[in-house]
């Protein structure tokens, strides 16, 4: 049933309510009358006297009073006449037929929004309305999971989204819940490791590395875990090992693997050669032109620079607020050295010493770390 049909039906109902009495004869005799009340009152007096509720003399006095009212009411009713105004009735019928729909329609069109469909909660939960931000969707899933914390599938859907939104701590928690309630697998372990690394500003910590290793143990070809194990090797100062791992991945990878450019960029970063795709793969698709590869590399280079910059700035801001983190300071100093900004690295060193002045143990650790980085002094 369409909206307009429903509205038309309602209008017809309203018009009918006005026309109905106009089309009927009214029996005036059957209507209530004032004298009826007084007649009933007289009857009531007789009953009260019979029950002994009022005395005979009081009853007689009341009867006189009520009879007087009864007479007056009867006189008034006698005098009233009934008329029928046919033309006026027709005018009212016309007003109902034309006025009601016109007035109601005009006012409704002015105020209402007939074009808008309903949006009940249940239907919106199935088909998200365009224009809703990802944050809102995430919030919705989160409230759902607050109520049903053991919904493993929900966690496994939510976790990668949180990772992409940069909410790494939440993402790590979500991956852990997904593993707990929906089973362990390589992709989830790799995702957890990635979230942990993200939470540590891109550094593959020991904890993250353990997760990647678990993922590879579950599935030796899990690409994300293997890539990050390479990153770990690179960060530990073993770029050759990293390059070997990545080259092995590339040579085995299908040519349309989406993570191919990432690996190629990573290899370029450590200065290693990009292996040719395996014969079977190269036979299927033509090799990319050198220009394309260069542009991809150039793009990711710029992007990566911006990304690193952002991470370093975030870390510096965090340390400014909470300086009691030796590892953090060392990471910041190392980052500045990698970015070839020794002045900033020295400034970070001085800040760190000031922040850790009260922490003798921390200060010693810091100095040892700085010595290893070569900015001691």
């Amino acid at each position: 049933m369409s909206l307009w049909f429903l509205l038309a039906l309602m209008t017809v109902g309203a018009i009918f309510a006005v026309l109905w009495p106009l089309s009927r004869r009214t029996d005036v005799k059957r209507e209530g009358r004032e004298s009826a009340v007084y007649q009933d009152q007289l009857a009531e007096i007789d009953r009260d006297i019979a029950n002994g509720l009022i005395g005979e003399t009081e009853g007689a006095a009341a009867r006189v009073e009520i009879s007087r009212r009864l007479l007056a009411a009867a006189d008034a009713e006698e005098g009233s006449t009934v008329s029928s105004r046919l033309r006026l009735r027709r005018a009212v019928a016309m007003v109902a037929l034309i006025g009601v729909p016109v007035l109601a329609g005009a006012l409704y069109l002015h105020l209402g929004s007939p074009a808008l469909p309903d949006f009940p909660l249940t239907s919106r939960a199935r088909a998200p309305v365009p224009g809703q931000s990802l944050d809102q969707l995430v919030a919705q899933v989160q409230t759902h999971l607050e109520k049903n914390p053991t919904d493993g599938r929900g966690w496994s859907v939510l976790a990668p989204v949180l990772g992409r939104l940069g909410r790494f701590d939440d993402a790590a928690q979500a991956f852990r819940n997904a593993i707990r309630y929906d089973g362990d697998n390589a992709a989830r372990r790799a995702g957890l490791g990635e979230a942990l690394a993200g939470a540590a500003n891109g550094v593959v910590t020991a904890e993250a590395k353990a997760e990647f290793e678990r993922a590879v143990a579950l599935d030796a070809d899990e690409p994300k875990a293997r890539y990050f194990l390479g990153v770990a090797a690179e960060q530990d100062g073993r770029p050759k090992e990293a390059a070997a791992l990545w080259q092995d991945m590339l040579s085995k990878a299908p040519p349309d693997a989406p993570w191919r450019p990432v690996l190629e960029a990573a290899l370029a970063r450590v200065g290693a050669a990009v292996p040719a795709p395996s014969d079977s793969a190269s036979a299927k698709i033509p090799a990319l032109s050198n220009d394309t590869i260069a542009s991809v590399q150039g793009m990711s280079e710029g992007d990566r620079g911006a990304m690193i910059r952002g991470m370093v700035d975030r870390l510096a801001a965090r340390l400014k607020q909470n300086g009691d983190d030796v590892e953090g300071w060392l990471r910041l100093a190392r980052a500045y050295m990698v970015l070839k900004e020794p002045d900033n690295a020295r400034a970070a060193r001085d800040d760190a010493r000031r922040a850790l002045a009260a922490n003798e143990d921390g200060l010693r650790k810091l100095n040892e770390g700085l010595k290893a980085l070569g900015i001691d002094g």
Partner: protein, 660 residues
């Protein structure tokens, strides 16, 4: 489609109200029965369409359609179902829709059950009802439309004010509105009578059930609101002389006066002009009450609507209806014929005294509530008129009212015998004096007036019982005859007794609670014991719990008396994240009609928690009283018998004269 259909139904109701407010009145003027009968069908159709509209809004709240602005602003998908429904009238727009729904309901009831009314009176009354509805439909549609839509519906609503997320919201506003709006019927009848230019005892007979119904609901609504404030706000108070409470008290006082003066009119055809005025005033005060709350003029918990653009509209409605009806009254009242005469000492006289005192009380509340507003408008100075003013003015008005109350029913119509009435009240007086003496001897502390006030309440209660005993001739006739007579008494007489006993019972509760209530404010750690009024309350532990849309901190108390454990109380604090607000949920334990009351304050860093513990003696009587009053009203309403006030004839002195 639901929202749009509901919206259109409301617009159609407006169109029908316009016809209802004109055609039947023209018909009544020209004496055309067909045109007059249009009132009935339009009133019923209006009820249907407003009902549809209200139903649509309820449905929208239940299915959480946040494309409707009203639902988005006042609902949340996680709210329990009952609060999704009650949330419909927990906001300005929805509550106005409830208001017109009830207005249409009463109009429909008059149309359905008004068969005993003369055609023209019914047509005119429904016509006036149509004016009122027209004004309200316009107000809703143009300034407070609950069906406005949002093009980009948000994903989650902003939730209902947590203080309102309570079962009290399911009962208090509908009851209060049934009361407020119910008085619109007596108003419409009064205006109809003024337009027709004649009014008689029969008028009061016809208005009686509507007034009684409205009064009953208003009584229950106010009592419910008071109990709600008592347990929800966490201060243990039950009446704050808050302007919003006063706004509901004023129509109640005027309505109570109307109820009594209508009795005089029905039985004796007297006080007609005054009764019409009271009917107008009562509804005017209801309108004022509704709008004082709605307009946001008064800053309080209830003022959830604060929008100056509505103010002008509201002022306009108030001016048209109150000013218009009073002008009509001034113009036409002189044409109404005066009715029966009576001596000053008579049932009528007693009821006039009742009316005088009640309307004066109403006037003091009116001044106390509106004077600060007026002063602020005129001079910009902000003052607040609080409890001391009302206590000082109310007591001197209510003491004579209550003293005179038992005399009223014992006096005869037309001319009464005060000495005879006093004689019959000896027993009540003696019981009252004895209770005063006993209280003085027995009770320590508190105001010296408290035993006097309780004595007064006892006098009222025994006096009301005396009336029934007298009528059934208890103690003067054999018991079996007295019982038969008691059964034969009109139910209205029993209703009078219950209502008057209710007044006394409520007074006892009020006096006991305010005089002997014990309060303890303290900071407790788990394991600590607080002692209040002979009870020991041990704080066992504090725990956390997750509700559907709130987090809750619960404190578990074990209550013991004289070393014997008598129960567990768990007051809590709820915090609602959507509005970042918290509410206190007091724990109550009834001991007879007294109560123990615990509400939680803030938590200290050390893990200790601030608590307020009260012992409130006889506090439940405060609300039992109104329940009894409403029950009396119900008995009286169920009494289909006609009422006659048989006048006491003047002494037949001639027969005593010596023969010539």
């Amino acid at each position: 489609m639901i929202a749009e259909a509901g919206h259109y139904a409301l617009v159609l109701a407006l169109a029908l109200a316009l016809i209802q407010s004109t055609v039947p009145m023209i018909g009544a003027r020209l004496r055309d029965p067909v045109l007059m009968n249009v009132a009935r069908s339009t009133a019923l159709a209006q009820l249907l369409f407003v009902g549809l509209s209200f139903g649509a809004l309820v449905l929208l709240h239940v299915i959480s359609d946040f494309s409707v602005a009203n639902v988005y602003e006042n609902s949340h998908s996680l709210k329990p179902l009952i609060y999704k429904i009650t949330g419909v009238w927990g906001n300005h727009e929805g509550s106005m829709l409830l208001w017109v729904s009830i207005l249409a309901l009463f109009g429909g009831l008059v149309a359905l059950f008004g068969n005993n009314l003369p055609l023209s009176l019914r047509a005119n009354a429904l016509g006036v009802q149509g004016w009122v509805s027209t004004a309200f439909y316009l107000f809703i549609l143009l300034t407070s439309n609950p069906f406005l839509r949002l093009v980009n519906p948000p994903l989650e609503g902003r939730d209902l004010n947590p203080v309102l997320q309570d079962p009290g919201l399911a009962i208090h506003p509908p009851m209060l509105y049934l009361g407020y709006v119910g008085f619109s019927i007596s108003f419409s009848f009064a205006i109809a009578a003024l337009i027709e230019g004649r009014i008689d005892a029969a008028w009061a007979r016809w208005v009686r059930p509507w007034t009684l119904m409205a009064w009953m609901f208003l009584t229950l609504g106010i009592a419910m609101g008071s109990y709600w404030a008592y347990y929800e706000l966490g201060w243990g108070g039950w009446w704050f002389w808050d302007p919003v409470e006063n706004a509901s008290l004023m129509p109640w006082l005027a309505g109570t006066a109307l109820l009594h003066s209508a009795v005089v009119m029905e039985k004796r055809n007297a006080l007609k002009v005054w009764t019409v005025l009271l009917a107008i005033l009562t509804f005017s005060l209801s309108l004022l009450g509704t709008f004082l709350v709605r307009s946001g003029v008064l800053t309080s918990v209830h003022a959830f609507a604060t929008d100056p653009t509505r103010g002008v509209f509201i002022l306009l409605i108030l001016c048209v209806f109150i000013g218009g009806s009073l002008s009509l009254y001034a113009w036409r009242a002189s044409s109404l014929k005066q009715g029966g005469l009576f001596a000053p000492i008579s049932r009528e006289g007693a009821l006039v005294l009742n009316n005088l005192l009640l309307t004066t009380a109403c006037a003091t509340v009116f001044i106390g509530t509106l004077y600060p507003l007026g002063l602020e408008v005129l001079t910009g100075e902000r003052i607040s008129v609080g409890a001391p003013f009302f206590n000082l003015t109310f007591a001197p008005l209510f003491v004579p009212l209550l003293l005179a109350l038992p005399f009223g029913p014992l006096l005869a119509w037309k001319r009464g015998d005060i000495a005879g009435a006093a004689q019959r009240l000896y027993a009540a007086g003696i019981v009252a004096l004895v209770s005063i003496a006993v209280l003085w001897a027995w009770v320590r502390g508190g105001s010296a007036f408290a035993p006097l006030a309780i004595g007064l309440a006892v006098f009222v209660i025994i006096g009301a019982l005396t009336d029934i005993a007298e009528r059934s001739m208890l103690f003067r006739m054999p018991l079996s005859i007295a019982l038969r007579r008691a059964r034969g008494l009109p139910r209205a007489s029993w209703g009078t007794m219950f209502a008057h006993v209710g007044v006394g019972v409520a007074l006892i509760g009020i006096v006991c609670e305010t005089t002997w209530n014990t309060e303890l404010i303290s900071t407790l750690k788990p394991g600590d014991v607080a002692k209040v009024a002979g009870y020991e309350l041990k704080l066992d532990d504090i725990s956390q719990r997750q509700g559907p849309n709130f987090g809750e901190m619960l404190a578990h108390f074990t209550v013991s008396e004289g070393g014997k454990m008598i129960g567990v109380m768990t007051p809590s604090k709820r915090s609602f994240s959507t509005r970042a607000m918290s509410t206190t949920e007091a724990a109550l334990m009834s001991r007879g009609v007294s109560q123990l009351y615990i509400s939680l304050g803030d938590t200290a860093a050390s893990g200790a928690i601030a608590v307020r513990i009260y012992h409130k003696p006889m506090v439940l009587l405060i609300w039992f009283g109104p329940l009894l009053m409403a029950f009396g009203g119900l008995l009286s309403l169920s009494d289909r018998r006609l009422r006659v006030g048989a006048p006491k004839p003047a002494k037949a002195s001639r027969s005593l004269q010596p023969a010539e």
